[in-house]
Amino acid sequence: MPATAPAQIELPPPAPPQSRRRREWSSIMQDRGLRLSSDTVLSWLTRGSSLAILGMLVTLLVVLTIAAVPSMKAYGLSFLTSSEWRPNELEQPRRGPDGKVVMEDGELVIETLPPQFGALPVIYGTAVSSALALLFAVPLSLGAALFLVRIAPRIKVSAPVSFLIEFLAAIPSIAYGIWGLFVLVPFLQGVEMSLHQSLAHVPGLHWMFYSTLQVGTSTVERPIAMTGRDMLCGGLILGIMVLPIITAVSRDVLSAVPRAQIEGTQALGATWWQSSWEMLRYSRSGLFGAIMLGLARASGETMAVTMVIGNNNQIVLSPFAPAQTMSSLLANEFAEASSELHRSALVQVALILLLMSLAFNVAARWLVVGKEARTAAAH
């Protein structure tokens, strides 16, 4: 072997100096010892937005509470139990204990009653209209949800039917209001008038067609005018509006029922209805959550109800009498509230509405999500 010196290894030329290459912002920052990187920026921005969402809820509660304080101080707990909503002052002659007017120096003594605000009629209105809505919507929705989960997949109509039912949810409230005002109200007017003619004499149904009224010292019984614009109409419109949400959530809840459960019942010889009933029973807390969501939506609904409910701020038991809900009261009176106290009372009503809807939403989420978590954990 010839003894040759090792060949000179050709090294590649040295890399060009760093300054000729465009540097990344982050590496410049690192060199300078600055901690701020795009990572941190994004992290703080997103964190800030999340805090903003928390802030939104807090702001809502705080602002409404502060604005409602004058009314809370003036009326206290009687706000929730009183039926008197009178925004004007009333001048009355003072009456003695015997009911006769008091005369001083030959003149009547006039006392001025300050405005009175009591929210019981609107709480009643919201409660009853929402209850009517659920009465109408829950059977229909559960039936449709069962259809979508059990029958529709086999005939391949689940996608279009789901789309159509969800489209019902996308229709704005005011469209329902217009439909209600021009279609449902005249229709109910006709229906109620014929009901009145045929059923008003039935003794057990007297409360539906007549209401008693206190006028001064006498009591008057009035026939309730069948106008179509009443609690029943409000309840029906609300029912139509909550159909899609109850259907959609029920469908999701029912489709999460494990197949093993259904197959088990079928193995034991259950009919179609019996196995469906088992599905409903198994997911009852989730279904209850769906109903709560519907309730939350129904109680907060404004425009459609305002247009068809008759706007009468009184408690009358008949479904054929006009009524008022919390949201329709706000829509009607807020823009022109005549005094600070009036506006504060309205904000207090809004606060009650908000707390009610928060309570329903929280309960619904807990029931629906909780059930899914428990189902997931069990498998």
């Binding site: 925004p87 004007n88 009035r222 026939p223 706007n311 009468n312 509230a337």
Partner: protein, 349 residues
């Protein structure tokens, strides 16, 4: 994406830059809304760069707006009460613009002829004591007409309303029981019936509900061909609401216009007077400094002057009664007293 953002920002910010046009924002009574909208359109023909927007939200909203200075002028059929004047802080001027009437419009399918009503009967209807159309009291004053046995649905205003103020004050003069049970005001608690928002809402309720009766401004009834009742006036005669009968009601008004131009003209004596008549006012502060712009002050004063002189010719066309000459003189005096920057606005011309 960036370019779209920039152009949107330009539209938004650029629109805030002052242009030659003057914008006035008014809000309030629905009672005069038809004629105010007509006036605004007519005025703009001769003054194209003055844009006046009037939102009819009810007298209560108008008074609230002018108190909080969220609007430039308020429309109201109800003069501001002592409490409201205190809340406003600065002196205000009530400028009567037209006189109008509140009528009882009714929906009685199949009923032909003209219905006659009296004040006490209407009070009892709204109290809930008279429940059917063929009640003895109504039949007694409408001899020879067949009244149906259907239930009466009284319709009323849900919002703070000058029309309600006028109507309830009239009823308070007609029935003591009414006065003590329901009272008078822009927004009262009605024992029975259904509510609507604005004159427009009550008209819609009456239109859509057989057996309904509602109190609305006469223009709304006539424009929608809804029949309204003849009311018995203080002299005992049954009068229909026309510009003439309203003018007769306002005949004596000038004598009371010493301290303030806000004068009640309901339940006035006179064989031809319509009993539920009222002026409607535009309310501004005496010192127009709150407008923050001399051009706006000038435009507002000019418009008010035009409306109470040239604009009056449109009044009777639209079923309102124009201001009588002595009242117009008082109004001119009041407009002359509006101040900008310490000096009367009109003197600057």
């Amino acid at each position: 994406m960036v370019r779209w953002f920039m152009s949107l920002a330009a539209v938004v910010l650029g629109a805030s830059v002052a242009s030659a046009e003057v914008r006035l924002q008014g809000a309030g009574a629905t009672f005069p809304n038809p004629i105010y909208q007509r006036w605004v359109t007519e005025y703009q023909k001769s003054h194209p760069d003055v844009k006046i927007d009037y939102q009819s939200i009810g007298s209560g909203g108008g008074i609230k707006g002018i108190t909080e200075k969220t609007i430039d002028f308020a429309g109201s059929d109800a003069p501001m009460s002592k409490k409201e004047l205190d809340a406003a802080g600065a002196p205000v001027v009530h400028i009567p613009t037209v006189a109008g009437s509140v009528v009882l419009a009714y929906n009685l399918p199949g009923f032909k002829g003209e219905l006659k009503l009296t004040g006490p009967i209407v009070a009892d209807i709204y109290l809930g004591k008279i429940t059917r159309w063929n009640d003895a009291a109504i039949a007694a004053i409408n001899p020879g007409v067949r009244l149906p046995a259907s239930a009466i649905t009284p319709a009323w205003r849900t919002d703070g309303s000058g029309t309600t103020f006028v109507f309830t004050n009239y009823l308070a003069t007609q029935s003591d029981q009414y006065k003590e049970t329901v009272g008078a005001g822009k927004q009262v608690k009605w024992p029975v019936g259904q509510g609507g928002k604005g004159n427009e809402g009550v008209t819609a309720v009456v239109q859509g509900t057989p057996g309904a009766i509602g109190y609305i401004e006469v223009n709304y009834a006539n424009a929608n061909k809804i029949p309204h009742a003849l009311m018995q006036n203080k002299d005992g005669k049954y009068v229909k609401a026309t510009p003439e009968s309203v003018a007769a009601a306002g005949a004596g008004a000038v004598q009371q216009m010493d301290k303030s131009l806000a004068v009640d003209i309901w339940n006035q004596p006179g064989a031809d007077s319509y009993p539920i008549a009222a002026f409607t006012y535009i309310i501004v502060y005496k010192d127009l400094g709150y407008l923050k712009d001399g051009a706006k002050a000038k435009a507002l004063v000019d418009f008010l002057g035009w409306a109470t002189t040239t604009g009056q010719s449109l009044a009777s066309e639209m079923d309102y009664a124009p201001l009588a000459a002595p009242v117009q003189a008082k109004v001119k005096e009041a407009i002359g007293g509006l101040i900008w920057d310490g000096k009367p606005v009109l003197a600057a011309n």
